[in-house]
């Protein structure tokens, strides 16, 4: 009986604990993966998912607990050991060497040799074979820097596939994929499953979890909550287990009413093409306007152009009836615009600096006193305002922002933008990589701001949130406006049709 039980699992992590100074990141967490199955690992940001996997990969050393892989206790010291033993991972951050070729990246760490030298031909042939099998259309000799984000994602997945691993871990693999590409990814995952692999699938997207996964393990605040077959659960039950409280709705009730026109954009065209062409729309006070589109539809370019990050050579922007130029972000901020960027890590936060700095940096000239020195009192109270009104969970004002979870980082970034008292708030993927609970809070925040008469633009690739939060949705297709629809009257299929209009 005992023996039979054991052979049921590919990987068993039992009672794994890990502490960092001041935090118990993992407290007796369990994860068991069967062969031929896709196992969802869910939990709010900061619940301990990445920490658990880093313990598995030997990036962190676990304090206690046992890891059995193929019934043998293992304790990997480096990721190489884990890879050599058949555990591979698609990292969320897309760890790639941009300056080198696709095939150099795929075989990094295990180049095929011919005598003393790297066997380029074998590398090329093997890469090509894998890409053909997975139906990935990328030339192995292309430079990674020249690929789109979704192509890079597919290359990473092909790489994990090529290890012939028993366990493949995927950390939010669909965050930059279109729906079609997601389907493609699922085909690949099912191929892995047929081979007998166990796949650990981390995602915040419920729809994907239900479509793909067989079992689910839920973590909350570093503790193991439950592991169950997915068939026994529904979305609400999962969310309840994740947040540990009743969360009846995924979106707050819409209470805002759009008023006068706040922003008028006419014929906006970027100077460096390919980018946006002839973009025309308006935005009202108290309105939330969504921008939808496929990857590469140039959604981000719209807000970048409005914020002066992207040069334009035609078109006009008027704010409250007055024409504004917004040649650079500084000017745009003076004119009452604010932008929350998509790549939080790269352009949103100063990771090594503290909450105070990250809260105040956009508004720093407001704290000047008599001699041009900064007032600690004012800065202190504004930082506290950001922490309180955004409900940032942080040990203190002087904690480096990089050590907070993604949702809390995002709240600080939003709070920072609000300190400059913007009239037009543009948010690019404001809930990317953020857990369900924090998402709800951010939606609520957007509605509160709309109720205060601010105009809000939300770029998003998640259809449910566009449909749940916005008043109107502008659909971009290949750099042009394919249409603007009223959220209440539209449907997912209408938006998707518009999104492919200019392809």
């Amino acid at each position: 009986m005992d023996k039979q039980m054991k052979s049921e699992w590919l990987l068993e992590m039992t009672n794994v604990s890990k502490s960092f100074p001041g935090v118990k990141a993992l407290d007796k967490v369990n994860l068991r993966i069967r062969p031929h199955s896709v196992h969802a690992l869910m939990g709010e940001n900061g619940a301990g998912k990445s920490t658990l996997l880093k313990c598995l990969f030997g990036i962190y050393e676990k304090d206690e607990g046992e890891i059995l892989f193929l019934d043998k206790p293992v304790n990997f010291n480096t990721s190489k050991e884990a890879l050599d033993n058949g555990i591979s991972m698609v990292h969320q951050e897309l760890n790639q060497v941009l300056q080198t070729t696709v095939m150099d990246n795929v075989w990094l760490g295990r180049y095929p040799l011919k005598g003393l030298f790297v066997d380029q031909q074998k590398m090329y042939d093997d890469t090509k074979a894998i890409f053909d099998e997975l139906d990935i259309r990328v030339d192995p000799k292309d430079k990674v820097a020249d690929l789109s984000v979704s192509q890079r994602q597919m290359v990473e997945i092909a790489k994990a596939f090529s290890y012939n691993a028993k366990i493949v871990i995927m950390d939010e693999p669909t965050s930059s994929l279109t729906e079609k590409e997601v389907k493609h990814l699922f085909t690949i995952i099912n191929k892995l499953k047929d081979r007998g692999c166990g796949i650990v699938y981390i995602s915040h997207k419920m729809e994907e979890i239900f479509e793909l996964c067989d079992e689910i393990t839920i973590l909350r605040d570093g503790q193991w909550v439950d592991t169950r077959p997915l068939a026994e659960l529904d979305m609400d039950k999962i969310i309840n287990m994740m947040v540990g409280r009743e969360l009846t709705q995924r979106f707050p009730a819409k209470t805002n009413t759009p008023g006068d026109i706040a922003l008028e954009v006419k014929g906006l065209t970027a100077s460096n093409q390919p980018s946006i062409q002839d973009v025309t729309f308006d935005l009202r006070h108290g309105e939330i306007l969504g921008i939808a589109g496929l990857v590469g539809a140039r959604r981000t370019d719209v807000v970048e152009a409005l914020f002066g990050l992207r040069g334009t050579n035609a078109g006009s922007i008027s704010h409250n009836g007055k024409v504004v130029k917004n040649d650079n972000p500084h000017e745009a901020m003076q004119n009452g615009f604010a932008l929350i960027t998509e790549e939080r890590r790269a352009t949103g936060i100063y990771a090594t600096l503290d909450i105070t700095f990250n809260s105040l940096i956009n508004n720093i000239s407001a704290y000047k006193e008599k001699f041009g020195l900064l007032s600690n009192k004012k800065m202190d109270s504004d930082t506290q305002w950001v922490i309180d009104s955004m409900r940032v969970k942080t040990p203190g004002k002087h904690t480096p922002i990089g050590s907070l979870s993604g949702g809390n980082q995002q709240k600080v970034v939003i709070g920072r933008s609000l300190l400059t008292q913007p009239d037009i708030l543009m948010m690019d993927e404001p809930t990317r990589g953020i857990d369900v609970g924090a998402k709800f809070e951010i939606y609520q925040l957007m509605l509160d701001l709309a109720n205060k008469g601010k105009g809000i633009i939300m770029v998003s690739s998640e259809m449910p949130e566009l449909l749940g939060v916005t008043d109107r949705i502008l659909v971009m297709s290949n750099g042009r406006v394919a249409g603007i629809v009223n959220t209440r009257e539209t449907s997912q299929s209408e938006i998707l049709n518009l999104a492919s209009r200019f392809l």
């Binding site: 990721s79 050599d84 951050e93 760890n95 060497v97 300056q99 080198t100 295990r110 790297v118």
Partner: protein, 336 residues
């Protein structure tokens, strides 16, 4: 297709700007002094570039890994002084180790290259294991190596070490005459270093790991590349290159003091960046490094040839470094 027509002249400038500058300078030099175009000058330029190429190839590998090496010049100096003391002629009355016979050149190469590898390894350990940024790490070892070299130089008499064994002079100053053209032996050694580095960078696992570590250390790590070991090897290797260059330099100049090699690292680093090796890491080509060295040698030699004041040469050299790197940045950070 999203291929777009870009501003053609600007693109051309970005790609070939540095060559354009070189051609303009050459044109100016040749118009001023048509006799510049001679086989003799060509062979002199090749000879003068050779040692610099070896040093630059050493430091280029470090720049590829987002590193740098301020200790390069001092390492060259140490190797030069050690080689000089081991390779003095028996007939030399000032021979510092009279009881020492003539040491065969390959043995000296082995000795100084081992010392170089050791110093490089120390640099590598400080960078890879103690996690000190390369600028600071090599600033420290630069000063330490100079101190060691000066102690040794003091010990052997504190006067320039010269009067080399004829075999050593032949090894470093000899040449093959092809008509009016003299091909120095040290040009051969530089060629060997070029081929070795090219093969290492482009054809071996180590080379690929080197560029991966330089381009994205995190990616290299999660793919199972031993980042620390890669760094240790490339630093040790750089020490070997400097040491070999130092020995050649002693022989080429004909004497050595503890000040030989002073600021050579800056010339080498300048040649690398002008040749397109990026300080951001992960980018660089052997041909670029070699071109970079030639550009500086031609400027030096050519402008001296037409009698431009060395002070003006400094200004022009500095301008070229900034211009070249600015062009390079434009390539990578195109405005949105």
């Amino acid at each position: 297709m999203d291929a777009v027509k870009r501003n053609q002249p600007l693109e051309l400038l970005k790609k070939g700007g540095i060559y354009a500058v070189l051609l303009i300078l050459l044109a100016v030099i040749i118009i001023q002094e048509p006799s510049f175009l001679s086989l003799r000058n060509l062979s002199n330029i090749l000879t003068q570039s050779s040692v610099r190429i070896i040093i630059a190839l050493g430091v280029a590998g470090l720049i590829v890994t987002q590193g740098t090496d301020l200790s390069a010049g001092r390492q060259v100096g140490l190797a030069a002084v050690i080689s000089a003391t081991l390779l003095q002629a028996m007939s030399n009355v000032n021979k510092v180790f009279p009881e020492l016979g003539v040491v065969p050149i390959p043995v000296v190469i082995l000795i100084v290259c081992s010392i170089g590898a050791l110093i490089g390894l120390v640099n590598g350990l400080i960078v890879a294991k103690l996690k000190v940024v390369p600028f600071i790490a090599t600033l420290g070892t630069m000063i330490i190596v100079y101190g060691i070299n000066s102690l040794y130089f003091d010990y052997v008499g504190a006067s320039p070490i010269a009067g080399f064994d004829p075999a050593f002079s032949e090894f470093t100053q000899g040449f093959i005459r092809i008509g009016g053209f003299r091909l120095s032996y040290i040009t051969f050694y530089a060629a060997i270093a070029i081929v070795f580095t090219w093969v290492l960078w482009n054809k071996t696992t180590f080379g690929k790991n080197l560029f991966a570590v330089g381009g994205n250390p995190e990616a290299a790590k999660v793919s199972g590349v031993n980042v620390a070991r890669t760094l240790l090897i490339v630093y040790a290797l750089s020490g070997v290159f400097y040491a070999f260059a130092g020995m050649l330099e002693a022989g080429r100049v004909g004497s050595a003091t503890n000040n030989l090699g002073f600021l050579y690292e800056l010339d080498a680093i300048a040649a690398c960046v002008v040749g397109g090796v990026s300080f951001a890491g992960g980018v660089g080509r052997v041909s670029g490094v070699v071109t970079g060295v030639f550009i500086f040698t031609i400027i030096n030699y050519g402008m001296t040839y037409i009698g431009v004041s060395p002070y003006w040469q400094y200004i022009i050299k500095g301008g070229i470094i900034v211009f070249a790197v600015a062009l390079d940045s434009m390539k990578y950070n195109g405005k949105k």
